[in-house]
């Protein structure tokens, strides 16, 4: 992130992008499938569609977004998966034997967040009450070793609408993955992430 690299023009009505096929080839990236995504112009507007590869297509968050269960997002070189929430502690029923378990911080719901590693290896899971602030130096979840994560990077909070992911003015942005096979409109200035590559739309 930083300096501009190769410029990839989007002239055609439809431009596929991937490792092996398409007019935009990214052969050096082994995390990308042959066909990863397609840019399409329709009625003067530009759309980006995920073609179902394992690595997905990420778009930088411009406004807070609702996180669904097992939605992926990315900050710095970290890939994070929202695992949903653990409901509030059920009230104890008298008489029956209570199931033993780890003490919880408070009785409210917990949000679970998992670090995903290269190759889809599941990593550390955090389970904390909202709001969870994520950053390099400040917050409830810290990635001190990642120079691409800002001191205060993003946060997740529980809202009546669901879990909300919000960027906290980070330098490199928070990227939300498109649903598999999903499509969304792009605007000038939007930044997208495909495997190890990051592109800005101009």
């Amino acid at each position: 992130m930083g300096d501009s690299g190769t410029t990839l023009p989007l002239r055609d009505e439809s431009t596929p992008i991937g490792r092996a096929t398409g007019s935009l080839r990214l052969s050096a990236d082994d995390t990308l499938p042959g066909l990863a995504a397609t840019f399409t112009y329709r009625e003067g507007r530009l759309f980006l569609r995920d073609e179902g590869g394992a690595s997905g297509v990420f778009v930088r968050l411009a406004a807070p977004a609702i996180l669904g269960e097992s939605d992926d997002f990315s900050i710095g070189d970290k890939l994070l998966r929202f695992l949903g929430k653990v409901p509030a502690t059920p009230p104890a029923t008298s008489g029956s034997t209570r199931l033993l378990g780890s003490a919880r911080s408070g009785n409210g719901p917990l949000l679970r967040l998992q670090v995903m590693h290269l190759g889809g290896i599941p990593g550390r899971v955090f389970a904390k009450p909202g709001p969870i602030r994520i950053g390099r130096a400040l917050g409830e979840i810290l990635f001190a070793d990642d120079p691409f994560v800002s001191a205060r990077h993003c946060e997740i909070d529980l809202d009546p609408a669901g879990a909300i992911l919000r960027d906290l003015g980070s330098s490199n942005g928070t990227f939300l993955r498109l649903p598999k096979g999903g499509e969304r409109e792009l605007r000038p200035g939007d930044t997208i992430r495909l495997g190890r590559n990051v592109f800005r739309l101009e």
């Binding site: 499938p33 780890s102 889809g120 290896i121």
Partner: protein, 305 residues
Amino acid sequence: MILCATCGKENVSTGSFCHGCGNDLRMSSGPRRVATVRTASPPFAFSPPGEAKACVVCRTPIPDGFAFCGACGTPVEANVATQRSGTMFFHAQETPRAKLVGIEPDGSEGAIWSLDGDEAFAGRSAGPVLLPDDPYVSPKHCRFFYQAGKLHVQDLESTNGIYRRVRGETVLQPGDQLRLGRQLLRIEPMEPAPTQAADGTRMWGSPDPGYRARLIQLLEGGGFGEVFPLEAGDNLVGREVGDVTFPGDRFVSGRHAVVSVAVDGVRIRDLGSSNGTFVRLAAPTSLEPGDAILIGARLLRVELR
């Protein structure tokens, strides 16, 4: 005071062998460590200094509840066997009976149950080891019995099981459950190889640190909480510092335990924590004097009568 590097047991400075596991304390590399700082949580002691037995090999006194002679490393079991075959017991054919001592949250000794019969039940409504006030104890929780001259305990499909305090190094099996502080954890193996899609691509993600196993936090009221992936080698469990941390749990010691992940298995050892590390007993298990077990939230210590 010397802390045994293998099991974390506190030994007197003059001893050559650990009282807890028989490890040779003279071979310990590095400086001899002093006891770790106690947490704010109530510490509980193992056996109080009782009637000292003498080692049959070197005649050094062995305090009650210790498994090995501190001077020559001879197991106490050998001692007991030798003494029983000798003239010390009038009824040599009788199995030595045990008792259970309830340890209160403040560390003091509470109720004592003598296990005189061949078997005894424990539970919220089954006696003689009756624990009526603990909602984590099942009505008929477990059974104590004598076999081959030793006290055994068997879980009777209770909701929350029986846990024994780790002394020395304990091998963990996949699915084993641990209790430490106010935490309940389960250990699971992990597939080491990154998974590749059919077309040879790998899912993009954070760099792979090479995890081999993971500890899963099982929450009060059900459900999974945090998950701690473990790397090959030693993984430190502690309150604030380490690979597996529980910052809010003041019953976890600063440096509590070490989980070692190797090709031949996963092992855990306690680092002399104030409140201990406990492993769930999967099958009927023999208990030694000085063993501490958790039934529900109740801590009991096994002693010879």
